[in-house]
Symmetry: C2
């Protein structure tokens, strides 16, 4: 079995905390960044559940308008600052060394993100991670957001493999749950501020970062 | 045309702010109530998008465990306090008088909620609203959450009417969007703290409360 490792990007490999300062300066509180991103994700889920679609960029702008309205700030300035900062986000420090080890060990690796292709490509290039991935997949191709099973099936088709050969790696409970519901295995990465409810969700692996995942997946030397 | 008025319940007719005190006492900040409810809704959307189902009660308990973990509190005590408070929630003051007027004018009215039937029945009885509704519908019956079109279709079937005869009334953008995507018209109720992004969502009506909706729907005398 040659397992395909499929990584979520935002908040799993890339650290979004540099965006906190934008929310602090535009809306007065850094914590609103998490509220904005949660709203963005929730609106993406709701839209796919309706059977409709708008890009993650459009929904990011929309969520920025809503938090700007709720907290009293300039929506245009807020969104423009976020959009400019996205390609400059850095990977968590464990990511590049761990992907390097996994790559050298022969694992095929892919990115699977809610972001549209051009944003995703710019983000992975900006963070110096693009070279590690055989495939960089955006749900924009199928116009349906994760955790709909179509997203995971798209990656399986790309690698001509069974869903059971995919290990989805994400810092979000809903991505872990979606991948497992689709027939994949899944690792939850417990990034700061990310939790799962272990009463109702049992990921295949729970790790603190990607180095810890590499330790599990690589044969001990 | 005899339009069927379909009301969302939590945050639209019932005021959830009395729950704030529970979050303040268990986790130190009243505002976490909104984070909990947003997480609960988001997990419901994600689950339906996966094609899976758990009741809104189970997801409410799960979201309580997650915020208790993130903010350092007793999950069991938090959830037990929330669960006990749900049937005691009061309607916003505009609700009963407006439903009374609409009912006298001959509108058929229904409730459509994410809550399971027993919780929903207890909430509407507790708030003194049950008598106004011809049908009290829970998505638990179809095991698929709003805004999936199946939820709105369930109500149309119950009234043997076209979706175009339904006016969905909700304080949430996703419920308005879902109803309109399914073919209904929809009114957004701008309850405190609830906003829509009017760049991407154009509800049939936008009102401040249910009295304002009644003013629009009732012929002037």
């Amino acid at each position: 079995m040659n397992r395909v490792l499929v990584f979520d990007i935002n908040e799993t490999l890339l650290d979004l905390t540099p965006l906190d300062a934008i929310f602090a300066s535009h809306l007065g509180e850094a914590r609103i960044r998490r509220e904005w991103f949660a709203l963005l994700l929730s609106s993406a889920f709701a839209l796919s559940l309706c059977g409709s679609y708008r890009s993650f960029t459009d929904l990011g702008a929309s969520a920025a308008r809503i938090v700007a309205k709720n907290y009293g700030g300039d929506a245009e300035g807020l969104w423009s600052a976020i959009r400019d900062a996205l390609p400059a986000l850095r990977a968590y420090p464990d990511v590049a060394p761990a992907l390097e080890r996994l790559s050298r060990a022969g694992f095929r690796m892919a990115a699977l993100s809610q972001s549209p292709q051009s944003t995703l490509d710019a983000q992975l290039t900006g963070a110096g991670l693009a070279e590690f991935f055989t495939a960089i997949c955006s749900v924009d191709t199928i116009r349906t957001y994760k955790p709909h099973p179509a997203a995971y099936r798209m990656v399986a088709r790309r690698f001509e493999c069974d869903l059971s050969n995919i290990l989805m790696i994400a810092a979000h409970d809903w991505d872990v749950a979606g991948a497992m519901a689709a027939g994949c295995s899944a690792a939850f990465v417990a990034r700061p501020g990310q939790s799962i409810d272990d009463v109702i969700l049992k990921p295949t692996f729970v790790v603190g970062d990607i180095e810890e995942l590499a330790e599990i997946l690589l044969p001990s030397r």
